[in-house]
């Protein structure tokens, strides 16, 4: 069991700064998800944690033991960390059993102990009947389980997962999310899970670090991240919030063109600062004139898609901003139709714009 402490971690690749000094504390037994779009620095963070890269500055400590700094790194094999790769990296020239047992052979585990642990590990991931197969004869999901069993059999103090589900089909992915969660709860391993899929992060993690442009935008529980995003980037990335850019008109209100939109003030700023209003599409309502007062924006329908449970309607509200609204499927809209959008004040969050945080 281990606690990971990352301080001011930076990584440059030539002129490109992949990590701009991140600080993270992963408490013992936590499952932390590093969530962000591609190029946000989440995979670089994982490579640094695994010891494949040397940081440009900052350090990583596990239980106060320094394992990475700009002066050098403890090599991967001496870290007591396991990693499950995105492409599984199951060795094609070894059978399932040989793959899983490899870590124990390296540790010169006595034969009897090895056999016992191997049997147990294969059973845990439901692969005991496939022990002598070669990977080419396994499905993607089974290869995934081999990779997981291989990583867990060495009883690491930390488990790293690099987009472990992204190569699986949608159905299997759903199932494996819960399985990973289950394995984590069973073993209580400190785990870092890299993903770009917010659904995966919300299901599996205790803690989520949302990353963008090489820095951590917000660290919090899934609920905190989803319900109280720290800035417009997090809001837009999680729950695909609408982001309406404007200026702070006063405490609790955004100036958007000639309209003032009221909302809950989350970010800090002085009047006149660039600010953003965020609202989830499911909270946006299309109303008839006079049906609602305050926070009403006129606009024109750009496109509409019928999705069965609801309609996804995109509305141009002027000033180059469009707003998505999920409307009841019974309502029918046509392109170019003028509509009124109501943004309920209690669902609007006023946040600092993403640019200010990411730059």
């Amino acid at each position: 069991m281990s606690q990971i402490k990352i301080s001011n971690l930076q990584k440059h690749f030539g002129a490109f700064q992949a990590l701009k000094g991140i600080d993270l504390m992963v408490e013992e037994g936590t499952l932390l998800a590093l969530l962000g779009p591609s190029g946000c620095g989440k995979s670089t963070t994982l490579q640094l944690l695994a010891g494949f890269e040397t940081p440009s500055a900052g350090e990583i400590r596990v239980n106060d033991r320094l394992i990475s700094s700009a002066q050098g790194v403890v090599p991967p094999e001496k870290r007591d960390i396991s990693l499950v790769f995105q492409n599984y990296a199951v060795w094609p020239h070894k059978t399932v059993a040989e793959n899983v047992a490899f870590g124990l052979q390296i540790r010169k585990t006595p034969r009897a102990v090895l056999e016992e642990k191997l049997g147990k590990a294969l059973k845990t991931v439901h692969l005991d009947h496939l022990a002598d197969r070669y990977p080419s004869e396994l499905s993607g999901g089974q290869q995934q389980r081999v990779a997981l069993a291989r990583a867990l059999i060495v009883e690491p103090s930390i488990l790293l997962l690099d987009e472990p589900l992204s190569n699986l089909d949608a159905h299997l992915r759903e199932e494996m999310r819960f399985e990973i969660r289950q394995v984590h709860d069973l073993l209580g391993l400190t785990t870092v899970y890299v993903t770009h899929d917010q659904g995966e992060a919300l299901v599996t993690a205790n803690q989520i670090a949302v990353m963008n442009g090489g820095s951590v935008q917000q660290l919090g529980t899934p609920r905190e991240i989803f319900e109280r995003p720290a800035n417009a980037f997090v809001a837009a990335f999680i729950g695909s919030n609408n982001v309406i850019q404007g200026q702070l008109a006063r405490e609790g209100a955004l100036r958007f063109g000639r309209t003032e939109l009221a909302g809950l003030q989350r970010g800090r700023g002085t009047v006149g600062d660039p600010f953003a209003l965020c609202i989830r599409p499911s909270k946006v309502r299309v109303v008839a004139p006079g049906e609602a007062s305050g926070n009403v924006l006129p606009g024109q329908v750009i496109r509409t898609a019928y999705l069965g449970e609801y309609c996804d309607v995109l509305v141009d509200v002027g000033h180059g901003v469009s707003v998505r609204a999920f409307t009841p499927p019974s309502l029918d809209f046509s392109v170019d139709q003028p509509v009124l959008l109501h943004l309920p004040t209690e669902d609007c969050q006023l946040l600092e714009p993403a640019q200010r945080v990411t730059s």
């Binding site: 050098g72 403890v74 090599p75 990296a89 060795w91 002598d132």
Partner: protein
């Protein structure tokens, strides 16, 4: 503000991490660099150093270079070489490009046989081909000339292989496989859709060919031309056999002459290598530019099995044309060599009472010189191929996985011998390792080292290609499970590379077996190999013995290739059978 307490002081931090410095990696990289220094940098450095010294006085001078341009006897071989190389490349392109088109794109009969026989020309050492052609077309005793005289009653021969024309012809038929393979694979890889697009726009067959097909394969044609040109420039055996008897010298045979002088003009020879290096280096640079600018081989399409152009009645003339290379480069010379090797005296021509196995018995059982040459050839080729693949794979691993910075320097040093003609490398190794402190003259080591250096680029690029197909994650996962870098390399990377390593081994073994020019200055009677033995026996005029030795060389090479392939297939099948057996259970 309180005092910040650090868990450990900076000095202690440095110490902790220092314990994990990758010593093994540094050790291996240093060993590789040392090997590259001795195999590449040192011999070439000596050539450069020697070229600026006088043979008589040992003084520093540019006199050798001045002589190169002023002395008449020295400029002429250079011109001859260029004439030979240019004509070879031209003829090889004129033969190879239509051949490639017929095989890849038309319904000419016997396409796969033509492909196979053209590749057989590829593995035949050209100097053995030249021997075959001496038997066929020597002005007096050559069989074809004999037939011609008997048929026409003419007193003069049909052709004289001991001429520039003869040398160009033999060089060309053995370089056609280069132009053929490159152009054929470009045609194979070219998407038929690109041609279809032109056809649907209303272009006819001819128009499509002129505006799409030919421009698309043009880079391949040029690269093929360049490679043939380099072959023509750097071949030693063919001009030594076909041009030296008539007193015509080319650069490579002139280089050998410097060593036969007494005292040998070794420093002059070094300077004489320079135009050759500059020319081949420049041509390789042009080739790289062409390949880099237009990635023509990458233009892929889904449908590989393209429609074939229907040649109709032209199929048979096309086949006749396509047979030129297989007949002249493989069937005729092989036939001549085999028949002569089984003859008591080849001048009597092929007949039953002339038949004997004497020369094989002589070569294998009676003659210690051929016996030791056979053993040497097989031993040196095996050892060189093994060392070369070992070193090439290690370098490929270091470069491909970027284990250290400056890998591009290591890669270019490794690839450098590719632009060095074999005979020049021979000069370099002679200069570097036949004098104290490193006097290896007369040992097997100097030959093996020269072979390793010559074919290192092949082993390296083969290793690189194999490694590119292996995801680094497969290695990383072993590291993270606790395996050291060395252990990961041996138990993950090497097994995954297995079939690539076997083919790399063969890619080195085959050319070492047939290599003449690299060995030519480095052998002594004790370390003679088959090729140098054949070269020396030919001077003695004993063609029956030479033919028998040549046939033995060809058969021996093919036997080893067959065994290695068989082992590789067997290993792969064994693995698959085991897997299948377990699936069935």
């Amino acid at each position: 503000m309180g005092v910040t307490v650090h868990a450990s002081s900076p000095a202690a931090v440095a110490d902790e991490l220092k314990n994990h410095r990758p010593w093994v990696r540094w050790g291996v990289v240093s060993a590789v660099l040392v090997a590259l220094f001795f195999l590449v940098a040192q011999p070439l450095g000596w050539i450069l150093y020697n070229s600026f010294h006088d043979d008589q006085t040992q003084a520093l001078t540019v006199g050798n270079y001045l002589r190169l341009f002023t002395a008449k006897g020295l400029l002429q071989p250079l011109i001859n070489s260029i004439v030979l190389a240019f004509s070879t490349a031209l003829l090889s392109t004129l033969l190879g490009v239509p051949l490639a088109w017929f095989v890849a794109r038309t319904n000419m009969p016997g396409r796969s046989w033509i492909r196979l026989l053209t590749l057989a020309a590829f593995v035949t050492p050209s100097f053995i081909g030249a021997l075959g052609w001496i038997l066929l077309a020597a002005p007096n005793a050559g069989w074809l000339n004999g037939l011609f005289r008997a048929a026409t009653g003419s007193a003069s021969p049909l052709m004289n292989i001991y001429s520039m024309g003869g040398a160009i012809f033999v060089c060309a038929i053995y370089t056609v496989p280069y132009t053929f393979t490159i152009v054929a694979s470009a045609l194979d890889e070219m998407a038929v859709e690109l041609e279809d697009a032109a056809t649907t726009l209303g272009a006819g067959v001819l128009r499509t060919m002129m505006s799409v097909t030919i421009p698309m394969v043009m880079p391949a044609v040029i690269v093929g031309f360049i490679l043939s040109f380099i072959q023509g420039m750097t071949l030693f055996g063919v001009p030594a056999f076909l041009l030296t008897p008539s007193g015509t010298a080319v650069v490579t045979t002139k280089l050998a002459e410097f060593y036969q002088l007494f005292p040998p003009e070794i420093y002059m020879a070094a300077a004489y290598c320079m135009p050759l290096i500059l020319l081949t280096g420049g041509l390789f640079w042009v080739r790289k530019k062409i390949l880099g600018r237009k990635r023509f081989v990458m233009i892929g399409g889904k449908s590989r099995a393209g429609r074939k152009v229907d040649l109709k009645a032209w199929r048979w003339p096309a086949l006749a044309f396509a047979l030129i290379v297989p007949v002249t480069a493989v069937l005729l010379p092989y036939f001549a060599l085999v028949v002569v090797s089984l003859s008591k005296a080849w001048g009597q021509g092929p007949s039953l009472d002339n038949l004997t196995l004497h020369w094989y018995q002589w070569a294998v059982l009676d003659n210690p010189a051929t016996q030791s040459a056979i053993v040497n050839s097989l031993a040196y080729a095996s050892v060189s191929a093994t060392l070369c693949v070992l070193l090439g794979t290690l370098i490929a691993y270091i470069v491909e996985r970027r284990l250290v910075s400056g890998t591009s320097f290591i890669a270019s040093l490794t690839n450098f011998p590719i632009i060095i003609p074999g005979i020049v490398l021979s000069v370099g190794f002679f200069a570097a390792y036949t004098q104290p402190p490193l006097n290896l003259y007369g040992t097997a080591a100097i030959l093996v080292a020269a072979f390793v250096a010559t074919f290192l680029p092949i082993a390296f690029s083969n290793g690189e290609a194999t490694l590119k197909g292996i995801s680094p994650d497969l290695e990383r996962v072993a590291r993270i499970l606790g395996a050291s870098e060395a252990r990961t390399f041996s138990s993950i990377t090497v097994p995954l590379m297995r079939s690539g390593l076997v083919s790399g081994w063969l890619l080195v073994f085959i050319p070492v077996m047939r290599e003449l020019s690299v060995a030519v200055f480095l052998i002594t009677p004790k370390t003679n190999v088959m090729t140098t033995l054949i070269y020396n026996y030919k001077d003695g005029g004993n063609y029956e013995a030479v033919a028998a030795a040549s046939v033995l060389l060809l058969v021996g090479t093919m036997a080893v290739v067959a065994i290695a392939q068989w082992v590789n297939v067997k290993l792969a099948r064994h693995k698959r059978d085991r897997a299948e057996a377990e699936v069935v259970q």
